[in-house]
């Protein structure tokens, strides 16, 4: 079976890969582009560990084919920090110890960043609903929510 050629943009960089049409965007990010930040938790769109944005829209990269990325703008967790300088969300996640095993963390960061771009002043309820598709089996969520709420407050003050 012949592979398909895909040209896309990941974290601002033009990239190309060849993929089987069955391969998901998650497979392509991890196995072809060596961007292993997005994790495969469930592979069925339930856990959110593979969250990325596609043209600014939060999606599960396991529920999208690699070929569908043609011509799109993909943002992954690798694009969140500015070189060695962590994004405020990443800083707060550490400060609040909002992670243990860390498998869910990349997806939570991508999802929370997407929330704050859309709504810089979310209520706790809105934040919990927005992140409901990001499962964490370690923390009990409370520290994650507090880290996101505090980041939102800090970013509002800074702007």
């Amino acid at each position: 079976m012949s592979k398909l050629h895909v040209s896309t943009t990941v974290n601002g960089d033009a990239v190309e890969y060849l993929c089987d049409p069955r391969e998901t965007l998650l497979d392509c990010l991890r196995d072809k582009l060596n961007l292993t930040g997005a994790k495969e938790g469930c592979g069925t769109g339930d856990c959110g560990a593979c969250s990325v944005t596609v043209d600014g829209r939060l999606v599960c990269s396991c529920l999208m084919l690699g070929v569908e990325a043609e011509g799109k703008q993909i943002e992954t967790v690798e694009g969140i920090a500015d070189g060695d300088v962590l994004h405020p969300l990443q800083q707060k996640m550490i400060e609040y110890a909002a992670l243990q095993c860390g498998i869910c963390t990349p997806g939570i960061l991508v999802a929370a960043k997407s929330l704050l771009e859309k709504n810089p002043n979310p209520t706790e309820e809105e934040t919990r609903y927005w992140l409901a598709g990001n499962l964490c089996r370690c923390t009990g969520y409370d520290k994650i929510i507090r880290a996101v709420m505090d980041t939102a407050a800090e970013l509002r003050e800074a702007s």
């Binding site: 069925t44 396991c62 084919l65 070929v67 569908e68 927005w130 598709g133």
Partner: protein, 288 residues
Amino acid sequence: MDYHSPASFAEASALAANATGITRFLAGGTDVLVQLRSELVKPDTLIDIKKINGVHDITRNADGSWTLGVATTGAEMSEHPELGQDWPGVVEAMDLIGSTQVQGRATLTGNLCNGSPAADSVPAMVAAGVTVTVTGPDGTREVAVEDIPTGPGKTSLTKGEVVSAVNIPARGENAGDAYLRFIPRTEMDIAVVGVGVDLRLDGDTIIEARVSLGAVAPTVLLVEDCAKAILGSTLDDATLDALAAAASAACNPIDDKRGTIAFRTEVVGVLAKRAAKIAYARAKGENA
């Protein structure tokens, strides 16, 4: 598996008509990819319709009706400033499906063509009188949503046919719709029972009604006896009891891990009453 991304529905239809083996159309992919990856369905041909012009458009037509492109996502519907004012039940039903991530991809058409009796958006669309445009080898036809599913995972679409638009009627005056479902948790679950209600009032009296039930039969049901039970009434308590009885009588559910026959039959009546009250309040112009 061959992957195609045609530029028109005629081309998509021709590809499907000439394909051998199993063909799937790809819109949001939230069901198709799960089935593909779990090898529940192994398509030989996958036709991605998202490169076709207009498939993400939400258009209000001159007569007040709406045309939605088949790849319009739940998130796009919820974010639209006016669609949810006209059809809150349809938009809320779609919004109940899955997480933020799933909302970024999932579509009304996919929810319909997946053929699940528990699909949340389908009872809401049936109540609202939504139709879909179907493009096939012999041209296009318009089909009522309730005529698409024929059983779990099965639709009335024939080889080479593809849904090419979703048509929502004009809302008109003094009318409202609502969809409610029961799930054992607060969010992100599959409906154990779902009820869609759409009605129109003249003063306080119901003059038009459509009631649909989800997850209580092999397909979503449009139940005329439920509509008859509330037509001509002001939705008083006796009418609500008659509506609940008609809904329970129309049920033909299964026992499964999510709910028993007895539970579903009981709850469908409760939800029918509640959904009818919300639709009635909306028709009166109240926030509900």
